[in-house]
Symmetry: C4
Subunit: 279 residues, 4 copies
């Protein structure tokens, strides 16, 4: 974007930036991400690991080095601006996960190394835009998500108190109840849960049906809020575009009419004052 | 909102109102609600109750006193207007549940004390608006909800008569059938229910598939009614806003054109009458 | 609606029509339908039948007589026009079901007598409108429903051929496969069906996942077709209403401008011809 | 569409084209497709095959000959243009499946012969349009489908690593995990899978709930993208149509105003220059 007038004066920083943004380097990075994602997938197969385990590890190491080099280069090229782009933070964290020694309680981090495949999102602009749009939709849903969370919490406390003794494997404590009620909200297997409870407390259907109706209704409105937002953000429809074009054409024409009337008024005035001033 | 000119003359009632509406008091009430909601959640854990049971009870008592005091203050401050706001009724009932002695058959009320957490909705304006919007959507769905209820009732009577003997644990009487058919409408485990019935009455698939198609179709239209309502209530889209601005600008310009023409007509008239009256 | 000028000349037919359309009779019919629906629900309970069986039967008989009388009166009042309204056909069939002797193979008709409760739909205008709107949406979905049916049929033939031997209780013949695939399309328990098949034919996931993706996608588009139709039928949004009002106001003003210009042109012409004809 | 002026000069190619496009031939082909689809369905029934197997085979042979003849005729009539229409490719492949000898590993092809029923789609124009619209919607969903696929892949790698030892029948290797996670995304039986894992790794709910929330949210946005696209493609609403008509009427009137002003200006100029040139 910045046009350097004299070749010599291009600073090293700018040159690195140009290289990073070049089509070739962008493509190469995407290829490395895809290859690395596939090798990490292969690593889950014990058969493949027995045969080609060392090769897979070597590829993984090389990919890691390339990613680290790319991030370092970007950090050098953009300095402070590097930290302003959240996608840079994302890339750094996702790559850093692999460097952390994953032993003992941190062994889960080993499994999270595949999150590196998400770099595909930050590397492909169209994916970046989609994720950006998804995240932009979240704040508008804040109040409804809050309401839904509150509803599940209240229902979980009630269910723990009422059904904790009857169906301890589902409602023994608050966390179990929260999980069960989330499951019921998704409509999975709720009939069985309800019927097991109803064998001892026949009126329990009131709780379950009220909970399903209310949570579904709120979730439906959450969904509608997202749709209405998306509609508002959508570009104008063809019909609207045509109407806007028409309106602008009319506006131009109206301005011409106005200008011509001004001309007429000036002439009238001149001709009136020249021909006679008796008014 | 009312600006008292002389400090002395501010009635006590108004002062209480100002205090209740002050940012500080509003925040404090929200904090108390959140703390109380958490402690009521903790009360469901036997481990936590064994250790900190008495503390939790004390917090609960204090919260209850504060809520009662707040409601009393509001009642004092607003008098008759207090009962005009349905949220006040809501707060009062939800707090009153805790005061009712919950023994014997009323022991369910103990579990319902957590409904007090819903005071969060009445205390936070944005939540209040969301719930208001949700409730406002209900009347428009009246006819479709009525139709859906009628359909489930009819299907339940038919199912009880036809399948009551075959699958008594599901269709023994009207309440069981209503519950089972509600479950089938949510799509939960309907295949198993249908197949158990079909083992003895192979033509039963007609009933189940007809019921699922019809209830899904009506539920879908219920959903569409809500979406279309929400769309209508939504503000104008950016395209529409721009078109409206354009229209208004044109309207103004057209008014200028009209005024100039009036000027011209008047002058013409004058000049015509002054220069010669031969027509 | 027709104002009879002379009381004497009102034909009996018209008087019956007025009585049938009167608010009182309409209300009474609705009450009878509701009572009859409730008693038919009560008839499914053996306990209630033992106690109040004969009473329930008497109410049912009376309701049946009233319905028959109403239909006969409508037939008398409207003559040929009676058969033009599909709701009249609906009412007649639904009532006639009860008169057919329900013995032997026709015993299912006994259970269908509750369909009489659907008369509530034909008796309440708002319900009638909702059902009318639902039915009006069906023709527009014809092609997509046809496509969906074709897809299920093809998938059922393939599944019967491929999986008939492996899972005979699900895919033994075409009807079983059709039922199972309809169940899978609703998302109910499809994982278990697929996994049982995959134990013997590991590649079967291709069939199931392709079927689910395609049927869901087509069903989604069926749904969208309904929404888009509903949107088109919806009234103009407030923004559009305001814009239309603005446009009309501008149109009127533009017509005034045009008329004034005509006036000017006439005067110019007159004044030009009177002052001098040198052009 | 091409009106041949002299009967004699119509080339044979054109005559074949006219015959193929005639209403009668089109209808006949549809009838053959329907009959053949039904007979292929009947072939799945061993009872029907025992009785009428040879008849069904003969009908199948005849249909196949007719289809082949039709495709050959179309190939002759349209020459190169035949290959430009993807529906022709589709018809050819679907018919060719039956000709391939289906023995040994290719026995699956036998089951795929029913795909010939899809010729109904290519033979009925309205079905063709529906499928065309469905396929046209796919490219716009590319990025979101890519994101969803990436999410499932990453989740599958993580699940295989973390839960492979605990629940080998679900998460033993990458393909199993992919299948299980697709099943979980459709909401089928996910509660049981999660609970089996949670018995050994109690924190596993984090994975399952995060996965369900994220995949549902992305799938929801995929759905919204389709709806918004469909809305944009939809014709203008009645309100918009009326507004466009109004706008066009105003535009015409404005043009008249402009023309009249031009007339006035010309006259003024002439009258001004004729009456006096003192300015």
């Amino acid at each position: 974007l910045i046009q350097p007038r004299e070749r010599k004066q291009v600073p090293a920083q700018q040159r690195v930036r140009d290289i990073l943004d070049s089509r070739l380097v962008q493509r190469a990075i995407i290829v490395v991400i895809v290859i690395n994602s596939v090798t990490m997938g292969c690593e889950t197969s014990t058969a493949l690991m027995a045969q080609t385990g060392s090769l897979l590890h070597v590829i993984d190491r090389i990919a890691l080095v390339l990613f680290s080099a790319e991030i370092a280069a970007r950090l050098y090229a953009y300095r402070g601006a590097f930290f302003a782009d959240p996608w840079n933070w994302f890339d750094t964290i996702v790559v850093a996960v692999a460097v952390v020694p994953a032993t003992g309680p941190a062994s889960v981090l080993r499994a999270l190394r595949i999150l590196r495949a998400l770099r595909l999102v930050s590397a492909i602009p169209s994916m970046r835009r989609v994720v950006g749009a998804l995240l932009a939709a979240v704040p508008g849903m804040g109040s409804i998500i809050g309401l839904l969370t509150l509803m599940i919490y209240i229902a979980a406390v009630i269910a723990t108190r009422l059904f904790g003794d009857i169906l301890p494997e589902r409602f023994a404590d608050l966390p179990s109840s929260l999980f069960t009620l989330f499951q019921i909200m998704t409509g999975d297997d709720w009939g069985n849960v309800a019927q097991e409870v109803m064998q001892q407390k026949p009126w329990a259907w009131v709780f379950f049906i009220a909970y399903i109706l209310m949570s579904t209704f709120v979730a439906l409105n959450l969904f509608i809020a997202v749709v209405v937002n998306a509609m508002d953000d959508a570009e104008a429809s063809p019909a609207e575009t045509r109407m806007q074009a028409e309106l602008e054409a009319m506006h131009t024409e109206l301005a011409t009419v106005n200008a011509k009337l001004d001309q007429l008024l000036v002439r009238e005035h001149t001709s009136a004052s020249s021909s006679g001033d008796d008014w």
